[in-house]
Symmetry: C2
Amino acid sequence: MELPSKSLERAVQALSRLPGIGRRSALRLALHMLRQGSDRILDLSEALEELATNSQFCQKCHAISDQALCGICQDERRDLRSLCVVEDIRDVLALENTHAHRGRYHVLGGLISPMDGMGPSDLTVEDLVQRVTDEGIEEVILALSATMEGDTTAFYIYRKLGDLPIRLTAIARGLPVGDALEFADEVTLSRSFQQRVPFESTLNR
Amino acid sequence: MELPSKSLERAVQALSRLPGIGRRSALRLALHMLRQGSDRILDLSEALEELATNSQFCQKCHAISDQALCGICQDERRDLRSLCVVEDIRDVLALENTHAHRGRYHVLGGLISPMDGMGPSDLTVEDLVQRVTDEGIEEVILALSATMEGDTTAFYIYRKLGDLPIRLTAIARGLPVGDALEFADEVTLSRSFQQRVPFESTLNR
């Protein structure tokens, strides 16, 4: 279907390039915005322009930041020997909420996913190798999604870091807290069984 | 969760004002755009700015248009006596695809929906009454969604047009073509039965 207005058509095309938004949804969004008035549209337009021009990546960990170095990388109380590797800033926020990690982060900016056109060179793995060498890192913790893309990326990093004198660990895969064992899928259950831990270590939480 | 970048925070807030997009989705969209590069973000930003400044509503039917009068309202071969009332431009496009309507349209710009803060004064009903009087319309066809909002709006228009010497019709509610009768819901089936038509009229398609 051809839209009767060129500016509407252009906006719909630009919106439908976003992930998970097809042409129909894009048209719905554009019409909703038009109903809300042009102020709202201009507000979003300006916010995006600001995002494109002002946002930058932390020179060290590659998280999005307003400064050259992000708050975490500037924080000197952080454990400098421990580096947690994550996909993007959402994972940093999720982990920070748990207070489980006292070291710094390294944001890859994605996962290896040939289907989405993401290869190793699109990630910040070279920088990670450099950091591990330069900063005297002792432990690299892989905190990636438990998906095929996450596993592929983890293996790639494992190969890249293989020769360096560090401890390379990965966050545990297992039964989610609160889940009934009978409903867990086979792969999770099997991993959970293989990677069993001394019971005493589960007590000191 | 507080975002570490102000421009990211602003973009996420603006995006999450769109219908169906929560804070999590907005962050996902913003991060996706950042990965794609700032050119893509600026493209969307400019498209939205153009939409806000250039798009206008057809003076006659209130559809979105690049000119003062939309293509359909400018088309003199259209039947001037028949006016089809729809919610928005998507419905115009859907009906145009069927080639079933030879007259013009009147776009309400929404439906009465107190839950969404849409009252009768937010719609172009006053203009519709004016058009029906001024343009010598003979038939007004209500082509609104078969929802509570659609029915409420249809009844409101019926009350507003009540005294005018026109034929007011509504598109039929019934069994969708291709659907099995046993799976139709009760209300649809009951409407479909009550509004049965002479069999012969179904033959000349």
